[in-house]
């Protein structure tokens, strides 16, 4: 149910009842290795009220699952983005560390853009639309659970425009943790109302600051992130896990459509704020 993960709820309950004895343990597992694949980490993020002219795209290779150095940069590719409505092309310069940067990018809401990557004699491409984001109304801190099982929860409130399907991404970047949290929702059941995206984390502590970004996203990217988040392991699926599936993004190799290309090319406007966790 879109923004409400029933399974997560059931999952936490089960963990609760399984519990007289149930336990989790980190173990060693032999996993297969599907080989190195091109990873396109291409997010054009346009903060409200800025020019958005500097944008960076990252190209990497995938590694085996337990490889402790997963950041394998791809160097020597040619990266461009074309704005479809006026044909202007922005060149992203190779920074020789897997990053490719443009400083003349022109963002335009609802405009369509095409990414093109030339690498190792192959041409990779993807097309997406730049989606608008609403303003963040406020952040509310609550407590989920009770007694020993408490988690701090942040709710990011914003107004959803009515009579149109919208999809949103909330990004929560805590100062005290190494990785961000992502959450997506659709307005299917909350159309036209004040919506919120929630983020709970047992590692949130008073005093930590959390950078919070709210993006408008396309339906296709929403579908992608939905699977992405489910499979990121941050979600407790408990005893009702869904079978994990291949995560297909929107980048394809024109020369070999069967090549698995990881990652996604997307463009979004965003509103941002920062929140300091309070003593509860």
């Amino acid at each position: 149910m879109k923004n409400i993960n029933f399974y997560t709820r059931l999952g936490s309950l089960l963990t609760l009842i399984g519990l007289l004895n149930s336990c989790t343990k980190v173990i060693d597992v032999d996993v297969p290795n599907g080989g190195a694949r091109l990873v396109v980490d291409a997010s054009i993020n346009w903060q409200k009220d800025t020019s958005g002219e500097t944008q960076t795209i990252h190209l990497r290779e995938s590694t085996s699952y337990f490889n402790s150095n997963p950041d394998v940069p791809v160097i020597g590719a040619s990266v461009t983005v074309t704005k479809e409505n006026d044909g202007s092309t922005f060149v992203f310069d190779d920074q020789n560390n897997g990053s490719y940067t443009a400083t003349d990018f022109v963002p335009e809401l609802n405009a369509s853009y095409t990414l093109e990557i030339l690498y190792n004699g192959n041409s990779y491409t993807a097309t997406e639309t730049l989606i608008a984001a609403p303003d963040i109304n406020r952040i509310v801190q609550t407590i989920e659970g009770s007694d020993d099982d408490k988690e701090i929860q942040l709710q990011l409130f914003f107004d959803d425009p009515g009579a149109v399907e919208n999809y949103y991404l909330g990004e929560f970047i805590p100062s005290n943790l190494p990785i961000p949290s992502l959450a997506v929702i659709s307005d299917e059941f909350t159309d036209g109302n004040e919506n919120f995206i929630e983020n709970d984390n047992e590692n949130y502590v008073a005093g930590a600051t959390v950078a919070i970004n709210l993006y408008g996203i396309s339906q296709r990217y929403y579908d992608y992130l939905n699977i992405f988040i489910q499979q990121s392991g941050s979600d407790e699926n408990g005893p009702f896990p869904t079978t994990p599936v291949q995560l297909k993004g929107n980048c394809t190799n024109i020369n070999d459509p069967n090549e698995e290309v990881l990652g996604f090319f997307r463009l979004g406007e965003f509103d941002t704020t920062s929140y300091t966790i309070e003593q509860q």
Binding site: F6, L10, L13, I17, V31, G34, Y65, N250
Partner: protein, 802 residues
């Protein structure tokens, strides 16, 4: 728009019908002077009718078994015979009869002298494999056997017990439902006194809803399913409730770690009938400590039954079940779900050869979830009205017919969303109600062709009509799911228009002929070969893409976008009793195919989904295996060893939607595929005071999908996956032990008590219920996390009878 569909007719239906007519012919040609003895077989102690008792004319091969209501009828040429009636745990009854006229003989069997102690069961004569009847692939357990099997927390569990028999598995500990011969959870027809039970689990699958105190008989048909059953592809679990003691008032009960039970039964209507009331409730506070003071988890069951004998030929039965689960997790959410069923039956004996039963049945499953923080109140339910009329005609010593009709009207409410309060940001929303009518007519014949060869022919005609009122979307080319060639993914199609179907108007109809066939050939006095074929049509689908079904999952009827599942199963078996019936061997091989199995596109959203058709593709499933069951039926030590070697797979090609299909259209292991499944169950009676039990279980691990790489995206390291279910969890194994203490002082008093001490998972094996892959939140390092449900779990239960 109305469509009528015919699904892959089984060769030619006409030819098939003709075949049945020819086979039925012999009944019209018999002319020797023959007489019939008929009656009802009961337990002398409590008046309970005995189902499946063997009735035989000694020295001949003329015999029968009692039906679901204890009724039997035997026809034989005029003469003098010895009538013998045998039943598990009872002294065999013998009486000379002079068959020179039709006669009625009601018989009450006495429990074995050696079994004065109520709870002790030594399997007896009739437990040996029935070599003569063609019925095969049946798993049968008596309530007494079930009560002896060590279980988690001492909570006697019918469904967990059945899983110790070959061909039956489930998705793991704490998973609801069960899987029969590689079939899915939704392919089991679960009947409690003929009422359909949609969710047989308590506490999300830790326990099952059947209270053993109220149950008389349990039969699981894994194959060779008789024609009177229909509507599910893989199996029928036929559970009959006790009628209640018609001789004297009796109280039984127990106090366990999870729940307490109390059952009362006794005669009523001036000895013209009896009643049974059984209740069971779990203690909410067991879980208090775990989830904080505001958390509660509990369940209860109530079983009711009463019957009234109008006269010798007419008897009424009224039975009911009501059960519910309740959870409240610190006010974060509350959740409840349960089944309700009621059944009124009328047994009418037309004459000594013709038995009939009419049933009016209602059943309902409902689900409710409230999440205050989200302001959500969610409810869904499914209910059905079911009418059955079944007849048994005991034509001659060679022929026995059964035939009947039934009709079920379904009402599905897939979900209704309400804002919980004024502050809720949720808009009220109602998913479309769905309506359907399912009807069936069947005829079956058991035909004793010779002393060694017996055949069972059956044919069922089933009909399904999906009814309005409902508005359904139309899609371009009638494809709700389309393949995106460029990205290589399946996507939801956008509707191009919609069609309104008025109230009661047909949306889609289906009909199927379902032939059933079974044959037994007795090789010698001790062994026989059996073979069977059955086709089953299933019109309902449980929409679930989790490893095991959750109580939240909804049932979807076949209709415009979903076709009925069609199963074909072939089975072959060898059966042998040896060492004077002390041991028996049952070996079976089966092969099963299922058409129109629903599968889910990557990223399918099934919850609160009004247009399920945009999330699914239709494929096929297949399963095959070998089953071996060796039982020791007599002596102080009884028990069995069961082994199954099997494979269960599914495949979903893209079909009209284009593309290769789910998992590139390749066959992949189903979640319940288990290559090896071994179990040992034993019970040893040391003396009158002590009895010990043990289970040893070993299973190949559940198929899972492991990551074949990782990549960094948006600051996160994410696992990538490829082929579905290509890997496996570590093997599952455990040992359970139990000891039952029956105090000696029981003998001389009315109060009978016993203590059951149990240890589940005695060597504390940490079996993986799941292994999840993710980044450690604190370090950012990838890790694999194993979740285990039950480690070692000791328990004590006290049972009594008064």
């Amino acid at each position: 728009m109305t469509r009528t569909k015919q699904l892959k007719p089984f060769r030619s239906k006409k030819r098939q019908a003709l075949l049945v007519v020819i086979l039925l012919c012999p009944v019209f040609f018999f002319a020797q002077t023959k007489y019939t003895v008929s009656g009802v077989v009961k337990d002398v102690a409590n008046g309970e009718t005995l189902l499946g008792a063997t009735v035989l004319l000694k020295g001949t091969s003329i015999g029968s078994t009692t039906n679901e209501y204890g009724f039997y009828s035997i026809t034989a040429p005029e003469g003098t015979y010895t009538l013998t009636i045998s039943y598990l745990g009872f002294t065999t009854f013998e009486q000379n009869i002079n068959l020179s006229t039709d006669q009625k003989l009601d018989i009450e069997l006495k429990e074995d002298a050696a079994q004065l102690d109520e709870v002790i069961i030594t399997a007896e004569e009739s437990k040996k494999v029935d070599l003569q009847t063609p019925q095969m692939s049946v798993a049968k357990l008596s309530t007494n056997e079930i009560k002896q099997i060590p279980v988690v927390l001492g909570e006697v569990d019918l469904i967990k017990s059945i899983q110790l028999l070959p061909g039956v598995t489930n998705a793991g500990e704490g998973a609801s439902g069960f899987n029969v011969r590689g079939g899915a959870e939704d392919q089991n027809l679960i009947l409690l006194d003929e009422a359909i039970i949609y969710n047989a689990s308590h506490l999300f699958g830790f326990f099952s809803v059947f209270n053993a105190d109220a149950i008389k008989d349990v039969k699981l048909y894994k194959g060779g399913i008789p024609a009177r059953f229909g509507g599910r592809a893989s199996s029928v679990l036929d559970i009959r409730q006790k009628d209640g003691n018609s001789k004297e008032f009796e109280l039984t009960g127990g106090i366990g770690a999870i729940s307490s039970r109390l059952a009362a039964e006794g005669p009523m209507f001036k000895d013209k009938g009896s009643f049974l009331m059984a209740g069971r409730a779990a203690y909410a506070n067991i879980f208090l400590a775990l989830g904080g003071e505001d958390s509660r988890a509990g369940f209860y069951d109530l079983n009711l039954k009463t019957n009234y004998e109008i006269d010798e030929k007419n008897r009424l039965y009224l039975s009911g079940y009501f059960g519910n689960d309740n959870f409240n997790l610190s006010g974060i959410f509350t959740n409840s779900y349960g089944n309700l069923s009621g059944n009124l039956r009328w047994n009418h004996i037309f004459n000594n050869k013709l038995f009939s039963n009419t049933s009016l049945i209602y059943s309902r499953y409902n689900y409710n979830l409230e999440i205050p923080i989200e302001g959500i109140d969610w409810t869904s339910d499914i209910s059905n009205y079911n009418v059955r009329y079944d007849l048994g005609y005991y034509a001659s010593e060679k022929l026995k017919f059964d035939f009947g009709v039934n009709g079920i009207y379904y009402n599905f409410n897939p979900g209704k969303l309400n804002p919980l309060d004024a502050d809720s940001g949720v808009n009220p929303e109602k998913l479309d109600d769905k309506f359907a009518l399912e009807a069936g007519a069947y005829a079956g014949l058991e035909h004793k062709i010779s002393d060694r060869l017996t055949a069972q022919y059956g044919l069922r005609f089933s009909y399904f009509n999906r009814l309005g009122e409902q508005t359904l979307n139309n899609y371009a080319d009638n494809l709700p799911v389309v393949y995106n060639e460029e990205l290589g993914i399946y996507e939801r199609a956008n509707p191009i228009s919609s069609t309104d179907y008025g109230k009661g108007k047909s949306i889609a109809t289906f009909n199927n002929l379902e032939p059933r066939f079974a044959l037994s050939f007795q090789l010698d006095e001790k062994s026989s070969l059996k073979a069977s074929y059955n086709r089953m049509a299933q019109y309902l689908h449980l929409i679930s893409n989790t490893t095991s079904a959750t109580p939240l999952d909804v049932w979807a009827p076949s209709g415009k976008f979903i076709e009925p599942q069609i199963a074909d199963q072939y089975a072959l078996g060898y059966f042998r009793n040896f060492r004077e019936n002390m041991f028996s061997i049952e070996a079976e091989a089966y092969y099963k195919t299922i058409d129109n199995r629903v599968d889910y596109i990557n990223g399918a959203e099934l919850i609160a989904q009004n247009t399920i058709e945009t999330e699914i593709l239709t494929g096929e499933a297949r399963a095959y295996g070998l089953e071996l069951l060796v039982r020791k039926n007599k002596g102080d030590f009884t028990g069995w060893v069961s082994y199954t070697l099997s494979k269960s797979q599914q495949r979903t090609p893209g079909g009209a939607a284009g593309g290769l299909g789910i998992n590139n259209g390749k066959w992949y292991n189903s979640n319940w595929d288990r290559t090896h499944d071994f179990s040992f169950t034993g019970s040893y009676k040391l003396n009158e005071k002590w009895r010990f039990g043990a289970n040893l279980v070993f299973q190949t691990g559940r198929p899972v999908t492991y990551p074949n790489g990782q990549f960094i995206y948006n600051g996160l390291s994410i696992a990538t996956y490829s082929e579905r279910n290509a890997d496996r969890l570590p093997a599952y194994h455990r040992l359970d032990l139990s000891a039952t203490l029956t105090p000696r002082k029981n003998k001389d008093r009315r109060w009978q008590g016993e203590w059951v001490f149990g240890i589940y998972n005695a060597y504390n094996r940490m079996n993986a219920a799941s292994i999840s892959f993710g980044q450690n939140q604190e370090t950012g390092v990838n890790e694999a996390t194993r979740t285990s449900i039950f480690g070692i779990v000791p328990s004590v239960t006290y049972n009594f009878k008064f």
